[in-house]
């Protein structure tokens, strides 16, 4: 079984989010980038599946050269090879198109992407890849078992889960539940050494045009100071919620 995991390089959650160039560009100076957490669940799940079923595990990303440390990290964790499509990801459609174009020429049995990236939170790329390849798709996937050519999957829905099955090939929008956080793999020294010599292929992007464009950013209005109410005066809290905030 050939598995491809789509990886996105995102600012660490603890990062301060700022913008430059008159609030039109994300300010990446001083930002620590990490593997998108939703992608990490997919990567570990892919390794478990490869260990059980055999096959290959490739990671793919759309990004400029600054994403290579993250790609090397996925190789150190255990991916066999990597592909970087040399383009700054600016739009869900063109990002998905680059990945789909690659996969048309290099088909995979299972394509796992995170259900959304923690920077732009678009959550659109995995479903778009599925459409471009005319494959079945399961979003917010929190359970995946593969037997032969058949996948049994579950996806998160409000208040529970839905169980589905499909023959491979299949596209997955992954999240926590594919594996648990405690099961996430981290690179060990041997992996880090091996990663240096694993193949990382760089492909030039096509010239497809973005369907959406980011114009500018603003910060949400900051909250005022927290109004502290004395623990012996709970009625005051309820009073404030009722009369001031008008939420109960």
């Amino acid at each position: 079984m050939n598995i491809v995991v789509c990886i996105s390089s995102v600012p660490d959650t603890t990062s301060k989010i700022n913008f430059t160039e008159n609030n039109t560009k994300f300010d990446s100076s001083g930002i620590q980038f990490v593997i998108n957490p939703n992608d990490e669940f997919g990567l570990t799940k892919a390794m478990v599946l490869k260990e059980t079923n055999g096959g290959t595990l490739k990671v793919i990303t759309v990004g400029d050269v600054s994403t290579e440390p993250i790609i090397r990290k996925t190789l150190a964790i255990g991916a066999d090879s990597a592909v970087r499509i040399n383009k700054t990801a600016t739009d869900s459609y063109t990002t998905a198109l680059e990945i789909a174009n690659y996969l048309k020429d290099n088909p995979a049995d299972l394509i796992i992407a995170g259900k959304e990236s923690l920077d732009y939170n678009g959550g659109a790329v995995p479903a778009m890849i599925a459409e471009m390849l005319d494959l079945p798709f399961v979003n917010a996937c929190n359970g995946l078992e593969i037997t032969g050519d058949t996948a049994k999957v579950s996806r998160e829905i409000d208040g529970g889960k839905e169980n589905l099955s499909a023959n491979l090939p299949l596209v997955i929008g992954g999240q926590k539940g594919l594996v648990e956080e405690s099961e996430l793999r981290i690179p060990n020294m041997r992996g880090i050494m091996q990663a240096r010599s694993k193949p990382l292929q760089v492909i030039e992007a096509s010239s497809a045009e973005d369907l959406t464009t980011s114009i500018s950013f603003e910060k949400p209005i900051e909250k005022g100071a927290c109004k502290l109410v004395d623990a012996d005066n709970v009625s005051e809290l309820v009073n404030l919620l009722h009369n001031e905030a008008k939420v109960i």
Partner: protein, 315 residues
Amino acid sequence: MSVLVYTESWDGNFRKSTFEAASYACETAKILGTEVIAISLGEVSNDELNKLGNYGVNKVVSFNAIDKGDSQSATKAIAKIANDSSVLIFSNTNTAKMIAPRLSAKLKAGIVSNVITLSESVSPLKVKRQAFSSKAIELATVNSSIAILAIAPNSFKLIETGGNCNIEQDSTNEKGAINIIGKETASGKISISEAEIVVSAGRGLKGPENWGMIEELAELLGAATACSKPVSDIGWRPHGEHVGQTGKAVAADLYFAIGISGAIQHLAGINSSKVIVAINTDPEAPFFKAADYGIVGDAFEVVPKIIEEIKQLRG
């Protein structure tokens, strides 16, 4: 060039987020001077379909044989009528996120998700959305002739227009390459992502046996219950209640954080809530910096008092 709205039903009933999307579609149609056509997937009664009229929908096309979990055939069905539309509106649910981006790819229609306001202009379409886990608001524009907008839950108020809608049944029977086996749900639970009030608790509660008062407060307020990541990791509460970066996102009118310290990963999931109340024994808990109201105190003393006070308030 109508406005199309995807409506999501479970067990034959529409969700609140569906009516929010319909209201949003209706306001957008007013700006464009056109009508709203709704799309329903799966078996839904005429009575239920007609409720869409109350939120400004003029016509609903009910694809009664198509399952929304089969995004391939859902996309094909919607695409057949979407070409006559200029804007497609979705609520940003996990299921809609399987269909809306597929339509975007199929129709080459730019998609903007997590939309929180009406469009600032329609030609070209410019609209505000949440990004960076609600730490920023992005103004985005759509370059294609058809635009797809997915609305963040609880970001747009319901607007009742008091009307009926025409119902058109379409029994197109397509099957994609996926089989839907069935769903497992905890019945009667209020959805965390759609709830107006969420009562959430963390490790400060010391054990799963102490959740009675959390559930009581939630029931009293018609609220959903939620929890922090450590609590779902240890198994005190189900995973579906985990709120935060890798869990569910909450955009409630009122969010109670009881015995939760307020790790940045948790705050990333709840910071689009409008009013936040923190209750914690530790005055240095980071949650007090993110909260609107706070009580430094023991949840085991404070929460029962809140319950009593609310009961008194409600008479």
